[in-house]
Amino acid sequence: LGPQESALLRSLGLSAKPSPRSPGPVPPVLWRIFHKGRTLPRPGGEPEPCRVEEFNVPGNIVRVFADQGRFLPEGQPQGRLCLRKLLFFNLSALQEGERLTMAQLELQFHHNSYHWPSPGQVLELRLYRASPRGLPRPGRSPLVERSFVQLRKSLLLDLSAALKDGTAPGRNLALVLEISASGDGGTVRGPCAGSDAFAATSLLLVTLGPRCRAARSRR
C-alpha cells in the first residue's frame, strides 16, 4: 500500500500511520458526537462537516488529550491547600493552519470524595498558566477561579476564551491546578481530601482544519 497509503493518510491529515502503544478508553462525549453524526438525518440533509453541533461551534476535528502532569508539593501551610497539580498536555498533534474554536478541561473525581468538603467548608479552585516545569507564571491572574460546596464526579471548565490566543499548533500546554478549602470565617476545619480524591484530567479541543477554513471562506 506504500505510496498510496501515505497519500491517503496525508489527505486524512496524518503525517504517518498511527500505531497506538497504550490506547486509552474513548471518551463518551466523542462516542456521542460520532453516533449523532451518523444517525440524525438533519432536516436539511447531512450534518454540516465543518460544525460540531454538540457544542454548537465551528470545527471539524475534536481531540481529547490526556493529562501528563504530576502532583506538586502544596507549599502553603497545611490544611489550606488541598491539592496542587501540574496539568501538562502534549498538543503536538495540532497541525499548522488549524484554528482553535473550543477548549474544555474535564476534572474527574473519585466517588469517595463526595464527603469533600466537610460541612461549612467551601472549595476554591484556581487554574493558572504555567511553565512546562510547573511553575505558575509570577503575577499572572488565574485563568479560571471557581468555588463550590459540593464535589461532583466530573467538573467541566471552559478554557476557550483563555486559550484561543496562546495555543499555537505544535506546542504543549502547561497549567497549574490549585484546590484549597476555606471554612466560614476563614478557619479551615479538618484536612481536605487532596490528591486521593482526584481521578483524571483531560482536555477537549475543537479545531477548524485548513480545508474547512477554505470552504467556509469560499462560502
Binding site: 500500500l1 497509503e5 486524512l12 491529515g13 496524518l14 503525517s15 504517518a16 500511520k17 498511527p18 500505531s19 497506538p20 502503544r21 497504550s22 490506547p23 486509552g24 474513548v26 471518551p27 466523542l30 462516542w31 458526537i33 460520532f34 453524526g37 451518523r38 440533509g45 447531512e46 450534518p47 462537516p49 465543518c50 471539524n60 476535528i61 475534536v62 481531540r63 481529547v64 488529550f65 490526556a66 502534549n90 503536538s92 498533534a93 482544519g209 480545508r211 474547512c212 470552504a215
Partner: protein
C-alpha cells in the same frame, strides 16, 4: 471490495456499490470507528443522446453529439461524482490521543456526465 457487477449491468453512468473495509487495508488497529463504510464510485457510459437523469452539463450534451459524429476524435464525457457527503472517523493519532474528525467528500451519492 466491489461485488462483481450484476449479470446485466446497466451501462449508463450511475453510482456503483463500493464498501471500504479499514481492516482490508490494515488500519483496524488505529481506526476506532467505523470499521468500514459505503464509499461507492461512479461507473457507466454517457452515450448520445444524453438522458436527462444523467445529470449532465450542456457541454457534455454537445460532447456526446460530437463523439457520435467523430468517435475517434472526441471521447465521450466522463461519468464522475456530482454530489458527495462527509463521514466522521474516530481514531487514535500518533500520540495516542482520541480524535474525531469529519471528512468531507467521502461518500459518492450522485454521479453525472461531465
Amino acid at each position: 471490495s466491489a461485488p462483481s457487477p450484476p449479470l446485466t449491468p446497466s451501462p449508463l453512468c450511475k453510482p456503483r456499490r463500493l464498501y471500504i473495509s479499514f481492516s482490508d487495508v490494515g488500519w483496524e488497529n488505529w481506526i476506532i470507528a467505523p470499521q468500514g463504510y459505503l464509499a461507492n464510485y461512479c461507473g457507466g457510459e454517457c452515450p448520445f443522446p444524453l438522458a436527462a437523469e444523467l445529470n449532465s452539463t450542456n457541454h457534455a450534451v454537445l460532447q456526446t453529439m460530437v463523439h457520435s459524429l467523430d468517435p475517434q476524435g472526441t471521447p465521450q464525457p466522463c461519468c464522475v461524482p456530482v454530489r458527495l457527503s462527509p463521514i466522521s472517523i474516530l481514531y487514535y493519532d500518533n500520540s495516542d490521543n482520541v480524535v474525531l474528525r469529519h471528512y468531507e467528500d467521502m461518500v459518492v451519492d450522485e454521479c453525472g456526465c461531465r
